[in-house]
């Protein structure tokens, strides 16, 4: 009995090597800059470089990187047409940026780097952006009066509930991505703890590639859906 208790205490104590916090890379004025931030910088730089390379010397018949990005933009246009309706393609730049950033940051786990999206800060910023876009385009589409009136829609008595349900959207959106990616990080960490070689390959395919791509897709689709509901509902 005491052996089990001691083992449990050892497992749960902070001194063991099972630590799922992002590593601190360096420190400025007492602020810790973690892996999450530096990986985000690297992904941003890679995306900028790739965009510049893809749009440099564009040809009518696309080749190479330009071709790849034309396929991506076409896919986003198709999604916007079928989810948000015709004539909403001005959302394509934001949605494409979001999709590319999420795909890249959800796939960093494949090369052994902790996902930036496994931190609540990253996902919450993205979901708050979605929330602000929803409110802004709702007010723009329906006019400020119509926007405010939409909160009193069924009966004015339910205003607090309407506000709470509106505020719950970004919370669940941020937590969904965060929970999925942190779940992957934790499960792979535990797996590496007792089976360091060969065995984690298949779980990597599911936990990093499959879950990462699905969650990136879901985040973009839900952003589109929320903005459309805000504009029309």
């Amino acid at each position: 009995m005491s052996i089990i208790l001691n083992a449990a205490v050892n497992m749960a104590s902070a001194g063991n090597e099972l630590d799922f916090d992002p590593a601190v890379v360096f420190e400025i004025n007492g602020h810790y800059i973690t892996e999450t931030v530096t990986t985000t910088w690297i992904i941003m730089a890679a995306l900028v470089v790739m965009s510049v390379l893809a749009t440099k010397g564009m040809t009518m018949v696309p080749r190479g990187l330009q071709h790849f990005f034309e396929v991506v933009v076409d896919g986003i246009h198709y999604l916007i047409d079928s989810t948000m309706g015709e004539g909403r393609r001005y959302f394509a730049p934001y949605m494409t940026t979001l999709a590319l950033f999420l795909v890249f940051s959800n796939l960093t786990g494949v090369i052994g780097i902790r996902n930036p999206t496994a931190s609540l800060n990253t996902t919450f910023v993205l979901s708050v952006l979605t929330f602000l876009l929803t409110q802004y385009y709702g007010a723009k589409e329906k006019g400020v009066g119509g926007y405010l009136k939409s909160f009193f829609e069924p009966i004015p008595f339910l205003v607090p509930l309407t506000v709470i349900s509106e505020l719950a959207n970004p919370v669940s959106l941020g937590f969904r991505l965060f929970g999925n990616m942190l779940g992957s990080v934790v499960m792979l960490g535990l797996l590496y703890h007792f089976a360091p070689i060969l065995i984690p390959i298949i779980p990597h395919l599911y936990l990093d590639v499959f879950v990462g791509l699905i969650q990136a897709f879901i985040f973009v689709m839900l952003t589109m859906t929320y903005i459309t509901i805000g504009m029309e509902g």
């Binding site: 208790l5 449990a8 749960a12 916090d21 937590f175 929970g179 934790v186 879901i218």
Partner: protein, 84 residues
């Protein structure tokens, strides 16, 4: 054998994390139901497979929310315990 307050809190937190993950039953049933309906829909209308898959994944992602909340609660209890 010495049991102090820390030990009891750790044990209770581990049990609590386990109990919290019972919530995984709900999303499991819900997502399975959605997948079954999606399969039926593809069987009835194979040409709409893309749209059906997209709608199904969206619904499953929303159904997953409660499970993710439970997972976050369990992870907080295990790795960022507020009671210690």
């Amino acid at each position: 054998m010495n049991i102090d307050a820390t030990t009891i809190i750790m044990a209770a937190s581990a049990l609590g994390a386990g109990f919290a993950m019972i919530a995984g039953i709900g999303p499991g049933i819900g997502q399975g139901y959605a997948a079954g309906k999606g399969t039926e829909a593809v069987g009835r209308q194979p040409e709409a497979q893309g749209d059906i898959l997209r709608t199904m994944l969206l619904g499953q992602a929303v159904a997953e929310t409660t499970g993710i909340y439970a997972l976050v609660v369990a992870l907080i209890l295990l790795f960022a315990n507020p009671f210690m």
